[in-house]
């Protein structure tokens, strides 16, 4: 994390460049990497996906561009004058509501203000935490043989993520860099899409039996969850497996853990776990285990086809799996294994699949 002085300086230098454009008679603009599927590329050094060279120009020549620059200047004013100078902060949702007072520059929906905060991250190469902007969602939870030390506003806390927590596990704070890993007995990190599967594995004692740190992703994982997984992987040297539903949206959940997301590729170096492996549910599992399925909807099919052209899925493994699923026209949930008995997933599927992957 950078200090408030540095954040303020970086924001002001962006403001200054816009100001200078006015002075020099250049129609003011901001150039940002275009945040589309077409413009993410593989960075060999960091083994992550980052934005490419395509830029999108935000120029005052159009109403949209002019509005966006006006919003940018309002937002920078808020970040500098309210947040950084007074050491305070707001959530993303609060920023959306604060903009109610900006009349012409008011955001139409929270998505717009969220994107603008991301834009500022990109322009300044900082993170929203540096501007004292917090996400709304609480972090997801962790359960397993791991002991951490968390710096809280009320002092240091030492917490063991099996012994000191309730059945729900340890809640990841929004700033993951406030925790240290003290000790662990784990062999592996297993990230789970659904709360149902997370609870099933805890109930069946899977974490104890195989020394696994379970991470609940809660759907598309929050930044803090992804940061936590990356730190577990890098700092403790643990392998990571991701277990999701077997549908195109879940593959994107895996992709955002392992390769980064299109929306926040500028933070890939900070959030992504390139060594993470996809465990399932694989389309081949649907066939091999004869799982109960649902039909793919038109949106599902469209999403699958679009993954075929997504650079993050450009591997033989994924091409084969996606093509098989397009043929099957079916999808399966993690919970489909319950159809074979409540213990099937922990006694049969996971041990078999994890040893196949060389993880146990």
């Amino acid at each position: 994390m950078s200090d408030p002085e540095q954040a303020q300086e970086k924001l002001l230098s962006m403001v200054e460049s816009l100001y200078d454009q006015f002075q020099e008679g250049i129609v003011p603009y901001l150039a940002l990497p275009s945040r589309t599927k077409n413009n993410i590329e593989y960075d060999k050094d960091g083994e992550v996906w980052v934005y490419g060279d395509q830029k999108s120009l935000r120029s005052v020549k159009t109403i949209r561009g002019a509005k966006s620059l006006l919003r940018t200047s309002h937002l920078v004013e808020l970040l500098i004058k309210e947040h950084l100078r007074h050491n305070r902060g707001s959530t993303l949702r609060e920023i959306y509501y604060i903009s109610e007072n900006w009349d012409l520059a008011k955001f139409g929906e929270q998505g717009e203000s969220d994107r603008l905060v991301e834009d500022l991250e990109i322009v300044t190469s900082l993170q929203r935490e540096d501007f004292h902007v917090r996400p709304e969602e609480d972090g997801a939870t962790v359960f397993g043989p791991l002991e951490i030390r968390e710096q809280t506003r009320r002092g240091m806390r030492d917490i063991h993520c099996q012994e000191d927590v309730g059945e729900a596990g340890y809640q990841i704070p929004f700033n993951v860099d406030n925790i240290q890993f003290k000790d662990h007995d784990a062999r592996l990190v297993l990230a789970l899409e659904t709360g149902g599967m997370y609870a099933r594995l805890i109930e069946n004692g899977f974490d104890q039996e195989y020394d696994v740190i379970l991470v609940h992703l809660k759907g598309q994982p929050a930044r803090s969850t992804r940061r936590m997984i990356r730190r577990l992987s890098l700092e403790l040297g643990l392998p990571v497996a991701v277990f999701t539903d077997g549908d195109p949206w879940s593959y994107r959940i895996f992709a955002s853990v392992a390769y980064g997301s299109i929306k926040s590729a500028h933070l890939s170096d900070y959030l992504v776990t390139p060594s993470a492996q996809f465990l399932g549910v694989q389309p081949t599992d649907i066939v091999d285990y004869d799982l109960s399925t649902d039909k793919l909807t038109d949106q599902d099919l469209h999403a699958l086809r679009s993954e075929l052209t997504d650079p993050r899925f450009e591997t033989d493994y994924w091409k084969e799996q996606i093509k098989l699923q397009l043929d099957l026209k079916k999808k399966a949930e993690q919970q489909a294994f319950a159809g074979k008995g409540l213990d099937f997933v922990t006694k049969e599927y996971l041990p078999k699949r994890l040893s196949e992957m060389g993880l146990i």
Partner: protein, 625 residues
């Protein structure tokens, strides 16, 4: 051979025939009506109320038009317990006393059935079917008052139809004073139901009548006492329609044989000249020669085979088109007035096609298109169909006019058309077909048949108004782009400059150089619409600079686009395809380019303008030539 015989089989057949003959009796008019309610337009309660009003209004308009009177029509619908009380009064020429009973109380009595001329009514079923319906549902007579001129007295009747004989029954006939100079008033009671809100209501019917008859004033008094007046938009009467003789093209054999038999002409040549339009002495002789017939033969003596040869000759010989003055178009100006009067819209385009012929019948198509204003932009475009100035409210889906609208590719004309069919958008389409003989699909005259000649003429008219709409909209777009720029300069730029200066604690920067650049730029804009799995792309290019601009526009796509208009040069580059257009725009000029891509392939990079300095171009990247 059939013949007298004493065989047992023969006498058995005779017995059965006699028995059958005893059971046979004339089908009464009432029975005929009951069995044919739907084809006469009495199939539902709302429609049963509408049909008599419609017939009376049609008659009134026809009568006024023939006599050159500006129509003033009053319609009143009142509730009487379960029943409805209907009054239709006009200021027409009136009906002579002797004719009144037959006009109102005898089915198939009409003056227009045998006449080839554009008129609203044709068969003579109309108003008398209303009288019959009223009498069947309420048992009450219809009251009629009519007066033919200021010097005359009015006659008042109470009429019913004798359902056994189809003859009028006069319950009362009085001569009296009436304060109107001339006109007719019909009053009847009947079963039905009154609706206002929907498309097929008396209200919409009269509103539509008012649109295509802008010379008429129509007043409607509704059951709740509300009075709607559709004012006239012009004092000018439509051009009167003339009676014509049939045109031989398209005549059928049966028709010809009937004409041959009943003609008063003694010679074939004078029959041909005198009975048909477009046949003179020379053509008549040519026809007789072709058919190998003596031109002096009496027409009634021609045999079946000879008539056949004559029909064939009609098809071979070159004939003049039928005369066209028998048709009375509404005219582009009056269509515009009519639409303007009833709808508040931004734009009206009209088109009148010249007269064409189908099966020997001259016809003419007029099309109007209204856009914007109070018309709703979601949902399908409203369609107003008219045949000889009569609104068609029912069976829209089965009508040739509708099919013609569906055949047109409206996207070309800036209206979306999801799934083909009727387009959507804030527009209304009016189509009027005028003919001496409208080919309806059924007796209830709800829909025009799919006659290829008519459908094609309607399509041509629609395309014409479509082109006018497209031109109008691209002009509007250029205007709105200008307004957009003004908004940027007036409100957004000063505020941005102020905020930036405030954050840096410096003087407010001078925004004028930037303003100048924004005002005069070459604007490029891409718009996307998703339709049926296709992404339809339009690129608008507008030159707001002070000088002419020539440049090359590049659009890089992952595959070759389809429906590219105007066509583009395509150059494969790597895995992508560069689409190139060479464009020259005068100051103030704008152009629209369009193409389509499968939705899942719709990935775009920035548009690139080659050959213009970057500070002139807005909405696209620039590269040096």
């Amino acid at each position: 051979m059939w013949g007298p015989s004493s065989s047992p089989l023969f006498s058995l057949i005779m017995e059965i025939a006699e028995e059958l003959a005893k059971q046979q009796r004339a089908i009464s008019v009432a029975e005929f009506f009951e069995k044919n309610r739907q084809i006469l337009g009495f199939d539902s309660a709302p429609r049963s109320l509408l049909t008599p009003v419609k017939e009376a209004v049609d008659n009134a308009l026809d009568a006024c038009e023939e006599m050159g009177i500006l129509p003033d029509i009053f319609v009143q619908i009142g509730r009487r317990g379960e029943l409805f009380h209907v009054v239709v009064e006009d200021n027409g020429p009136g009906i002579v006393t002797e004719e009144v009973p037959r006009v109102f109380a005898k089915l198939l009595y009409g003056s227009r059935f045998h006449v080839l001329k554009q008129s609203r009514g044709q068969q003579g079923i109309g108003i008398s079917a209303g009288v019959l319906y009223s009498q069947l549902t309420t048992g009450k007579p219809t009251r009629v008052i009519s007066k033919i001129g200021p010097g005359h007295k009015a006659c008042r009747f109470q009429l019913m139809i004798n359902t056994a004989t189809n003859e009028p029954e006069i319950l009362e006939s009085v001569v009296q004073d009436w304060d109107r100079p001339h006109g007719t008033r019909v009053e009847m009671e009947l079963e039905g139901s009154y609706v206002r809100s929907r498309r097929q209501s008396i209200y919409s019917y009269l509103k539509n009548v008012a649109i295509v008859n802008p010379h008429a004033r129509i007043t409607l008094k509704e059951p709740d006492g509300n009075v709607e007046t559709f004012e006239r938009a012009t004092e000018k009467l439509p051009k009167p329609a003339y009676e014509i003789q049939p045109h031989p093209r398209g005549l059928e054999l049966g028709g010809l044989i009937k004409m041959l038999r009943y003609t008063e002409k003694r010679k074939l040549s004078s029959f041909l000249k005198g009975t048909f339009s477009s046949i003179g002495t020379i053509t008549a002789q040519e026809l007789c020669d072709l058919a190998e017939l003596d031109s002096n033969r009496p027409p009634s003596e021609l045999t079946y085979r000879e008539a056949q040869r004559l029909i064939e000759a009609f098809r071979k010989v070159r004939l003049k088109s039928p005369p066209t003055d028998c048709l009375s178009p509404i005219g582009e100006e009056l269509i515009r007035m009519g639409l303007d009067k009833e709808y508040r819209v931004d734009f009206v385009a009209t088109s009148t096609r010249s007269v064409s012929v189908y099966s020997g019948n001259p016809f003419l198509v007029e099309v109007g298109l209204a856009y914007g204003g109070e018309l709703k932009s979601d949902g399908k475009v409203g369609v107003l169909r008219f045949a000889n100035r009569v609104p068609l409210l029912y069976q829209q889906g089965g009508c040739g006019i509708t099919h013609a609208i569906e055949n047109v590719s409206w996207r070309t004309y800036s209206l979306s058309q999801p799934g083909g069919g009727i387009p959507t958008g804030p527009a209304g389409i009016l189509v009027h077909v005028a003919s001496t003989n409208i080919p309806f699909t059924s007796e209830s005259k709800d829909a025009i048949a799919d006659v290829p000649e008519i459908v094609s003429e309607v399509e041509l008219g629609l395309k014409d108004v479509g082109r006018k709409l497209r031109r109008h909209l691209s002009r509007q777009n250029a205007l709105s782009a200008r307004r957009e720029k003004e908004e940027i300069i007036r409100t957004l730029l000063p505020r941005i400059a102020e905020k930036l200066a405030d954050l840096l604690d410096r003087e407010k920067p001078d925004i004028n150089p930037v303003v100048a650049k924004i005002m005069s730029s070459l604007l490029v804009k891409r718009k996307l619409v998703l339709e049926n799995g296709q992404t339809l792309v339009t690129i608008e290019v507008a030159n707001y600079t002070e000088s002419a601009r020539s440049f090359r526009l590049h659009e890089m796509l992952p595959l070759e686009a389809t429906s590219v208009d105007p066509s583009a040069r395509v150059v494969p580059i790597g895995d992508d395809y560069d689409h190139l257009w060479d464009i020259s725009l005068k100051p103030g000029e704008a152009r629209r380019l369009s193409y389509a891509l499968p939705a899942e392939e719709a990935r775009f990079s920035d548009l690139v303008v080659e050959g213009q300095p970057s500070d002139v171009v807005a909405g696209a990247r620039t590269v040096e030539t």
